[in-house]
C-alpha cells in the first residue's frame, strides 16, 4: 500500500481554508442576527449550525478543487508540450 504524504504546506493550506470557512460562516450568522433582529446570544447558541455550515462550505470548496485539479493538470501539460 502506498503511503500518502500530506506535506506541512498542504496541512497549513487546509487548516487556513477551514478557518476561512468558519469565519465566513460566523460572519453570515452575525449578519443574520442583525438582519432578523435576533438576540446576540445566538452568536453562541447557533454555533452548532455555524460549524455545520462551515464544514459544508469546506466540503463544497474541496469538491470544487478536486474537479478543478485535473483540468489544471491538463492545461499545464498542454502548455509544457508547446
Amino acid at each position: 500500500m502506498n503511503n500518502i504524504t500530506i506535506t506541512p504546506k498542504r496541512q497549513k493550506t487546509e487548516i487556513i481554508t477551514l478557518i476561512i470557512c468558519f469565519v465566513i460562516s460566523f460572519g453570515l450568522n452575525a449578519y443574520a442576527i442583525i438582519a432578523y433582529n435576533a438576540p446576540a446570544k445566538e452568536l453562541i447558541t447557533s454555533i452548532f449550525y455555524v460549524i455545520t455550515f462551515a464544514i459544508a462550505l469546506y466540503a463544497a470548496w474541496t469538491i470544487l478543487r478536486l474537479l478543478i485539479l485535473p483540468l489544471k493538470n491538463i492545461l499545464l501539460k498542454s502548455n509544457k508540450n508547446k
Partner: protein, 431 residues
C-alpha cells in the same frame, strides 16, 4: 400485602407539583376524598364486585392492591367470569344473582361493571340495601335511569362514584388547573375524538352468547360508541369550559362494520354553549390514525391531555441563521419552475409543546379513582361534585345519542338539570 397506596398518593400529589390546595379545591374538589387518607390506615372496606368481566377484572386488579380493601364477593351470570375472578381472589364468595350479594350485610360497597342496561336496577337495589356504589360509566341506559340513580344516592345518603377516571388523572387535574387559571386564555372550542380500527367484538364461545358477550354492539344493552367511549371525554369538555352545553346535534351511521351490529360505528356530535363555545365529539372505528384525544383550544394555547402536552400559540422564531438559510432556499427553489414556491419549507420552529407533568404520562387515574372511592366509603364522606360529574357525563352521552337518532337539534332538558355550580375560575370570568 404489597401495596403502594401511600406512595402513589405521595407521587400523585408530587405530580400535581406547585398547585396549591386552593386551586385544587376549586378545579377538582373531589380530591378532598384523600384528605384523611393517613388517618384511615386501620380502616377496612368490604367490597362486592358485580360483573367481573373484562372491565371488572381490570378494576379488581387495582382494588386487590389496596390494603384497605377486602374483596368479599363476586356476582355474575356468566360462570367463566366468576371463575376468573375467583382465581384472583379465592376467598371471595361467588353468586349468580347480584341480589344475594346485596343481602350480605357485611359488604360496605359494590362496584358495578356490568352491561349498561343493567346498571340502574343494580345500583338502585344496592342503594336500597345500604351499599355505597361505584358504577362504571355511562351510569345509566337512559336519562331517566341516571336521574333515578342520582336521586337514590341523595335519598339514601350513600357514597356514589362513577368510573370517570380522568377526574383523578394528574395530567387532567393539572391541565384543568391551568385552564381555569387562564393560562391558555378563554376556551372557545374542545375537539374530542376516539378513533379505532377494529370491529370491537369479543370472541364468543357459542353463538347463543353473542349478544351477552358483545353487548356493546346491540341496542338492547348499550348505545354503542356514545355510551362506551364518549362518556370518557365529554366530561373533559364540561370540566374545561366549566359549564354545561345548551344544545346538542349529531349524526351517526353504520358505515364500515356491517356485521349485524345495531349501534353506529361512525359518529359526530356538536355540543354548543351559552357563549357560542363548542365541543365536538367524534369516533370512527375503521381508522385509528388519529387515535384519541381531547384538544382544548384557548386563544393563547392548546392542551392535549391524553398526549400529556400543551402548546402555546406564540413560540420563539427559529434561530436567525436558519431563517436566513431558509430564505435562500425559498428564493432558490421558489424561483425554479419545476419546484414551485410550495416546495420551500416553512421557517417556523415545529411546536413540540411541553409535557403537562414534565414527563410522559404514566397513569390514567383508574387506580386513584378507586382509591378515592374506598376513602370516601371508609370516611363516609361523599366528595363534592363527583356524583354530579358522573351524572352529567352520562347525560351528555345519552343526549348526544338521542340527537343522532332523532336527527334533531336538542335543547338540554330542564327536567334533567341538577345542581351543578359553575367553576368559579379566572378563565371563565374573563370569557
Amino acid at each position: 400485602m404489597e401495596y403502594s397506596n401511600t406512595i402513589s398518593r405521595r407521587e400523585f400529589l408530587k405530580e400535581l407539583g406547585i398547585l396549591g390546595a386552593g386551586i385544587l379545591a376549586t378545579t377538582s374538589p373531589w380530591l378532598s376524598a384523600f384528605g384523611e387518607i393517613s388517618h384511615t390506615n386501620n380502616e377496612r372496606c368490604r367490597i362486592g364486585l358485580i360483573g367481573p368481566g373484562s372491565r371488572g377484572q381490570f378494576l379488581l386488579s387495582f382494588l386487590k392492591k389496596n390494603p384497605k380493601v377486602e374483596i368479599a364477593a363476586f356476582a355474575d351470570i356468566y360462570q367463566p367470569s366468576l371463575d376468573e375472578a375467583l382465581k384472583a381472589v379465592p376467598t371471595a364468595k361467588a353468586y349468580k344473582d347480584y341480589r344475594k350479594l346485596l343481602d350480605d350485610k357485611s359488604i360496605d360497597a359494590v362496584v358495578i361493571a356490568t352491561p349498561l342496561n343493567t346498571h340502574c336496577q343494580i345500583a338502585l337495589d344496592a342503594f336500597d340495601a345500604g351499599k355505597n356504589v361505584f358504577c362504571e360509566k355511562t351510569i345509566g341506559y337512559s336519562m331517566e335511569d341516571c336521574l333515578k340513580m342520582y336521586n337514590k344516592h341523595l335519598e339514601t345518603n350513600k357514597i356514589f362514584f362513577s368510573g370517570q377516571q380522568r377526574l383523578f388523572d394528574p395530567r387532567y387535574i393539572k391541565a384543568m388547573a391551568m385552564v381555569h387559571d387562564g393560562v391558555f386564555g378563554p376556551v372557545n372550542c374542545v375537539h374530542a375524538y376516539w378513533n379505532r380500527n377494529g370491529d370491537w367484538r369479543r370472541p364468543v364461545p357459542s353463538p347463543e352468547l353473542e349478544r351477552h358477550i358483545n353487548w356493546r354492539l346491540y341496542k338492547e344493552y348499550s348505545k354503542g360508541l356514545m355510551t362506551e367511549l364518549a362518556c370518557h371525554q365529554l366530561q373533559v369538555g364540561t370540566w374545561a369550559l366549566g359549564k354545561l352545553p345548551q344544545k346538542v346535534m349529531g349524526h351517526g351511521a353504520i358505515t364500515f362494520w356491517k356485521d349485524g351490529r345495531e349501534v353506529y360505528d361512525n359518529i359526530n356530535c356538536i355540543y354548543t354553549f351559552d357563549n357560542g363555545e363548542m365541543m365536538t365529539w367524534g369516533s370512527d372505528i375503521s381508522n385509528k390514525f388519529y387515535g384519541l384525544e381531547e384538544q382544548i383550544l384557548g386563544n393563547l394555547g392548546t392542551i392535549e391531555p391524553e398526549r400529556g402536552k400543551y402548546y402555546f400559540e406564540n413560540i420563539d422564531p427559529a434561530p436567525a441563521f436558519l431563517q436566513m438559510i431558509n430564505e435562500w432556499e425559498n428564493k432558490l427553489f421558489g424561483a425554479m419552475p419545476f419546484a414551485g414556491t410550495s416546495w420551500a419549507p416553512e421557517t417556523a420552529n415545529e411546536n413540540h409543546g411541553e409535557y403537562i407533568l414534565g414527563k410522559r404520562p404514566e397513569t390514567d387515574g383508574t387506580s386513584l379513582n378507586l382509591d378515592a372511592f374506598v376513602e370516601a366509603v371508609v370516611t363516609n364522606k361523599q366528595p363534592e361534585r363527583i356524583a354530579e360529574e358522573g351524572y352529567y357525563a352520562s347525560l351528555l352521552c345519552l343526549l348526544g345519542h338521542e340527537a343522532i337518532t332523532s336527527g334533531t337539534i336538542l335543547d338540554f332538558p330542564n327536567e334533567f338539570k341538577i345542581d351543578y355550580p359553575s367553576y368559579n375560575t379566572k378563565a371563565i370570568k374573563e370569557s
